[in-house]
C-alpha cells in the first residue's frame, strides 16, 4: 500500500510537471528556448576562454571547463525543478495545501515534479555537448567513453541532486517568494566550489575543503573521466584517486548530503505545518 502511494505520488507528479513545463508555448519557441539558453551559457565561458588564450581550444583546460559547465546545467535544473514546485503550488496554483492533505508522499511528489526540468536539463546538456563536439572540437571520442562509469555516475549524481533539491524545498517552505529561483541561485553559488569550470587548486587553500565536501565535485570529475579520461588526468586534484575511489566517495558524500537533506526537509516541513505556512501568500 505504501509503495503504491509512493509510486503514484511520483508518477502523477511527473505527469503534472511535464504538463506544466511543456504547454506554455508552441513547440518552435520551446525548442528555441531550449537551445539558446544552454548555448548562451556555454558561450560566455567559451568567449572568456577564447579572448585570453587566443582560441587555444586544444588545451585540456578548455575541455575541462566546457564539460564541467555542460553537465553543471543539471544542477540548477534539478535544484530548481524540485524547490520551485513549492512556490508554484503554494503561490501560483494554490494547490499545495490540497497536495498536503491528500495521501501523497510529499518528497516523491517533489521529485516527480522535478522530472520535467531534468528532461529539459538533459536536452540542454546534450545540445551543449553536441555544440562543443561539432564546433569547438571538444575531444569526446565515442569509442573511448567509459559507458558504465558514465551511466553510473550520472544516475548517482541525479539522485544526489534530487536530494539537495529536497533540502532547498524545505527552505522554500519556510521562506517567502523572492524574485529569484532559489535553485538557480544556489547552483550559481556552488559553481565556485565544485571544480566545474576550474580545478580546485585555483581556489585559496582555505576554500578547498568546501569543494572536497560537496558530492557535486566528485560527480563532475567522474563524468569528465568517463567521457575524456585523458583530459581529467591532466589536472592534479584527484589523480591519486581511482575511478572506484571516486565512485565510493561520491556515494558516501551523497548519502551524507542526502541524510542532511531529508532531516532538514522534515524539520522545515514540521515548522511550516506548525506555523501555518503551507498556504501562505508572500507576494510583495
Amino acid at each position: 500500500m505504501r509503495n503504491s502511494i509512493s509510486l503514484r505520488s511520483f508518477l502523477s507528479a511527473s505527469w503534472l510537471g511535464w504538463k506544466i513545463e511543456s504547454n506554455w508555448t508552441d513547440p518552435f519557441l520551446f525548442a528555441t528556448y531550449s537551445i539558446i539558453k544552454p548555448l548562451a551559457s556555454a558561450g560566455i565561458l567559451v568567449l572568456m576562454y577564447s579572448i585570453i588564450t587566443n582560441g587555444n581550444f586544444d588545451n585540456p583546460m578548455f575541455a575541462y571547463l566546457y564539460l564541467g559547465n555542460a553537465f553543471y546545467q543539471y544542477v540548477p535544473a534539478v535544484l530548481s525543478g524540485i524547490s520551485w514546485t513549492i512556490i508554484d503550488d503554494r503561490e501560483h496554483y494554490r494547490t499545495l495545501k490540497y497536495i498536503y492533505i491528500a495521501p501523497v508522499n510529499i518528497p516523491l511528489y517533489l521529485f516527480g515534479r522535478g522530472v520535467a526540468k531534468f528532461i529539459t536539463g538533459s536536452f540542454a546538456v546534450l545540445i551543449t555537448l553536441l555544440a562543443g563536439f561539432i564546433f569547438l572540437k571538444v575531444p569526446i571520442d565515442i569509442n573511448q567513453i567509459n559507458w558504465p562509469l558514465f551511466i553510473l555516475s550520472l544516475i548517482l549524481g541525479i539522485i544526489m541532486l534530487a536530494l539537495l533539491g529536497l533540502l532547498l524545498a524545505g527552505i522554500t517552505l519556510i521562506t517567502a517568494r523572492h524574485s529569484y529561483y532559489i535553485g538557480d541561485v544556489v547552483a550559481s553559488g556552488l559553481f565556485l566550489f565544485t571544480g566545474a569550470i576550474f580545478p580546485l587548486e585555483v581556489l585559496p587553500v582555505w576554500l578547498r575543503p568546501i569543494g572536497y565536501a560537496l558530492p557535486i565535485t566528485y560527480w563532475l570529475e567522474l563524468l569528465r573521466r568517463s567521457l575524456v579520461g585523458n583530459v581529467a588526468q591532466a589536472f592534479p586534484t584527484f589523480t591519486q584517486l581511482s575511478n572506484l575511489d571516486l565512485v565510493l566517495i561520491l556515494f558516501l558524500t551523497s548519502v551524507i548530503a542526502g541524510l542532511i537533506a531529508i532531516y532538514f526537509f522534515k524539520k522545515c516541513n514540521h515548522s511550516a505545518r506548525e506555523r501555518g505556512l503551507i498556504d501562505m501568500s508572500t507576494n510583495y
Partner: protein, 281 residues
C-alpha cells in the same frame, strides 16, 4: 458615517504618480524587512557566483584587469536582475493574484506602479551591487584608475534610465502574455549576459555583435564604466566614452517613450482580448 470624498479632493497628475510610486514601493520595502532570507540568497550567494568567474580568469592566466571586469559586470547584473525579475516579471504574479486588475481599474498609471516596484527593490539591488563591488575588489585586490568622476556618474545614471525604460517596455508584454513572458524572461538571462559583455569586453564580439548587444543599455554602460575605471579599459572599449554617452541618451529617450506608448497600447490590446484577468497556465 464618514463624509463623502469629492473627486477634486483626490490627487491626480504628478502628485498621484508620486503617491503611486511610493505606495507600490512600500510592500517591496516592508516585505524585504519582514522576510530576510534574500540577504543570503540575493546578496551573499551572487558574490560567490561572481567569484567563480574571477577564478576562471585566474585559472587561464588572464590579466588582472579582467578580474575587475568581472567584479564590475557582476555588480551591474544586480540592476538587470531587479528590472527583469522584480519589475517586469512581477506583473505575472500580480495578474495571477488579481492585483493587476485592481491596478488597471484604478486611476494610477502603470508606469508609476512599475517604477514603485523597481524603487522598492532598489535597496536590495544597491546592497547587492555594492557588496559585490566592495568585497569583490577587496578580496581580489582589484585596482581602479578613475579617469573622470562626472562621466562615470553620467554613464551610470543614463544606463539606469535607459535600462529601467527598457524594463517597463518589456513589462508591457506581461500584460498580454502570462507564463510565456515569464519563460521568455528566463530565456533572456544568459543571452543578455553574453551579448552585453557582462564578464568580458564586448568588443570581442566584433563590431556587429557589439552593436547588436548595445540594444541592451547595460552593454554600453558597462563598456564605458570599464573604460573610465580600469587602466586597460580604453584599449578594450568598443566605442569612445563620449559616443557611448550620446548613444545612451538616445536609448534613454527611446526606451522611456516606447515604454509609455507600449504600456498604453498593449493595455488596450489586452483589454480587447480579455487577457488582463485570465489565468492561463
Amino acid at each position: 458615517m464618514l463624509p463623502p470624498i469629492q473627486l477634486t479632493q483626490k490627487h491626480s497628475g504628478i502628485r498621484l504618480f508620486i503617491m503611486t510610486v511610493f505606495g507600490r514601493a512600500y510592500p517591496r520595502v516592508i516585505g524585504m524587512q519582514r522576510e530576510k532570507s534574500w540577504l543570503f540568497f540575493d546578496i551573499f550567494v551572487p558574490l560567490l557566483s561572481v567569484s567563480a568567474y574571477v577564478f576562471v580568469y585566474r585559472a587561464i592566466g588572464a590579466p588582472e584587469d579582467y578580474v575587475g571586469f568581472v567584479v564590475v559586470g557582476g555588480a551591474m547584473t544586480a540592476f538587470w536582475m531587479n528590472i527583469l525579475w522584480s519589475m517586469s516579471s512581477q506583473l505575472y504574479w500580480e495578474k495571477e493574484q488579481g492585483n493587476l486588475a485592481l491596478y488597471i481599474i484604478s486611476p494610477a498609471s502603470m508606469m508609476a506602479i512599475l517604477l514603485g516596484m523597481a524603487l522598492g527593490g532598489l535597496f536590495a539591488t544597491l546592497l547587492r551591487a555594492i557588496t559585490i563591488m566592495v568585497f569583490g575588489s577587496l578580496i581580489f585586490n582589484v585596482s581602479y584608475h578613475l579617469v573622470s568622476f562626472w562621466q562615470l556618474i553620467a554613464i551610470f545614471s543614463l544606463s539606469m534610465i535607459a535600462l529601467y525604460g527598457m524594463g517597463m517596455m518589456s513589462a508591457s508584454i506581461f500584460l498580454l502574455l502570462s507564463r510565456e513572458a515569464w519563460h521568455i524572461s528566463n530565456l533572456a538571462t544568459e543571452p543578455v549576459y553574453l551579448i552585453s559583455g557582462m564578464y568580458f569586453p564586448v568588443k570581442n564580439l566584433g563590431f556587429w555583435g557589439s552593436a547588436f548587444g548595445s540594444i541592451i543599455p547595460l552593454t554600453l554602460g558597462l563598456d564605458a564604466i570599464r573604460q573610465l575605471i580600469f587602466e586597460s579599459g580604453p584599449s578594450l572599449g568598443f566605442l569612445s566614452v563620449n559616443i557611448e554617452i550620446f548613444i545612451l541618451i538616445l536609448l534613454s529617450v527611446f526606451y522611456v517613450s516606447a515604454a509609455k506608448f507600449l504600456l498604453a497600447y498593449i493595455e488596450k490590446l489586452a483589454v480587447r482580448e480579455g487577457r488582463l484577468t485570465e489565468n492561463r497556465r
